[in-house]
């Protein structure tokens, strides 16, 4: 028992102190806020019930009722009292359950009520990355990126979710609960980010080898900054000028890279892997596994199978200077 108390104390400390970048207890939007509150209400009620039962049990075990010689000799009065007590608690349980169900249902109605979204984003889950497309009216404005979702602060965002291989689940805990991405089906999830920031999310449905490293980040920007980001992303990749990056580009469009990746404005146009047109403008690489840096890019290009075993990007043999210039080229894709 004492052990338990210590542990609960530890738990409380932990929860109060916790602000993990990817935590349901660290809400950064109205939906997540609501969910967190609902969670705490349920926790409070349930803990209270558990505690009550434990106390009654302990007392019952501690108080030594008079020993009976014949186990079948039951005291009518005591039995009747037990009947009353038990029926009372059962009724209590029933009422609690009804109350909690009602509460849950009300929140459900509020949380999932479809809102007029300011912006709609199509997210496709693949093994093991996220393809992100911004639906705009003008076809020249088409924006494609990967593993990163930029959203305007304070605006309701709708995310249309689907998958092309296996089932994945879209989950950014500090913004909203999760929703599955299922082949041959489209689900829609809505959320709003209250304040600017970077919120990490992760695939929550087992999807194979790299399920553990299928992360994504949501970047919430003030509306004007978001607009500039959007327009910059819609542009094709900048032409490299310095020779090293020119060489890098040649390698990109002649070696294995272009077989899977797209860089708009070059001959590389395959849709198998993430769109790299503005690769260097991203926060992370390898689906939110490594922070964006020259060293990490090199490591990833050189040995993806070592960093994420089983990932679909093959180890492509490159000479050191080929690698150098390729990395420079990638770094320049802003």
């Amino acid at each position: 028992m004492r052990f338990r108390l210590i542990f609960t104390a530890g738990l409380v400390l932990w929860l109060t102190g916790c602000s993990g970048q990817q935590s349901a207890l660290n809400p950064q939007g109205p939906h997540a806020e609501h969910l967190a509150n609902l969670f705490w209400v349920f926790t409070a009620v349930c803990s209270a019930i558990w505690l009550a039962v434990m106390i009654v049990l302990v007392i019952g075990l501690a108080r030594r009722a008079p020993a009976r010689l014949d186990p079948l000799q039951l005291d009518r009065g005591r039995e009747r009292r037990s009947v009353i007590m038990v029926s009372g608690t059962v009724v209590g349980t029933l009422l609690t359950v009804i109350a909690l169900t009602a509460l849950s249902f009300v929140s459900q109605r509020r949380l999932f009520a479809p809102d007029k979204p300011a912006i709609t984003i199509k997210v496709t889950g693949l093994q093991w990355w996220w393809d992100v497309r911004y639906e705009t009216d003008s076809p020249d404005q088409i924006v494609t990126t990967a593993n990163e979702i930029y959203v305007p602060v304070g605006k309701p965002v709708a995310v249309k979710l689907t998958a092309t291989d296996v089932i994945h689940s879209f989950w950014v805990p500090s913004l909203m609960g999760k929703l599955d991405l299922i082949p041959g089906q489209e689900n829609e999830l809505q959320f709003t980010a209250s304040r600017p920031g970077i919120y990490r999310g992760q695939c929550a449905e087992f999807c194979g080898w790299q399920h553990a490293h299928m992360g994504l980040v949501v970047v919430a920007l003030p509306v004007p900054m978001f607009q500039t980001w959007l327009s910059s992303q819609s542009l094709p990749a900048a032409e490299p000028e310095d020779p090293a990056r020119k060489k890098g580009q040649e390698i990109f469009v002649s070696k294995a890279c272009f077989m899977c990746h797209t860089v708009r404005g070059t001959s590389a146009g395959s849709r198998v892997g993430p769109d790299l047109t503005h690769f260097a403008s991203r926060q992370t690489i390898a689906s939110a596994t490594l922070p964006m840096s020259r060293g990490n890019i090199a490591a990833w290009v050189l040995d993806p199978q070592g960093i994420k075993p089983g990932v679909n990007m093959p180890n492509v043999p490159l000479t050191p200077d080929e690698l150098e210039s390729l990395v420079s080229y990638l770094e320049g894709l802003r």
Binding site: P183, A256, Q305, P309, G310, P314, N315, V316
Partner: protein
Amino acid sequence: MIRVLVIAASLALAACEREDRPLRSEPVPGEQREAIALASNSPGQGGPVEKKSGTRGEYEKVAFHVSQGKKLFTWYNCAGCHANGGGGSGPALMDDVWIYGSAIENIAASIREGRPNGMPSFREKIPEDQIWQIAAFVRALGGFVASDVASSRHDEMYAHEGEARLPAPPQRASAQPGLAQPK
């Protein structure tokens, strides 16, 4: 019990190899290329010469490789010319006609070096181990791969039975690959 044991034992050895999931192929970096005399680019006449080290044979014994090959076959748009194996602007891969040889080494060579009349060379463009995976899948299309290794249907529109259910090729085709005359 005996019977179960016998079956188990017989499957055991096959199973181990079949179920490998080799994630990292060659020692990285650098690719040792299979040293084989290429099939003569002119069809017919005795068919291609073949020299195998045999080391690449394991690609068509590993279910994972064949299924990767099937995935890459789509991703790299081989279907663009060869359709789902039925052939289009490129030759069919499901019949028993193997202009440049049906051995996995010949198929890999065809992919890597390309062939006249449109088959491009994927040297440098497709990593060596992936070439062998695709070659293994093409073997499966031809019905040369054991049915417990060959790939099954994919979650897509029905084109033809999964490779595992394709009929094995007639003897001559598999015995002396390439002898069959081009259409």
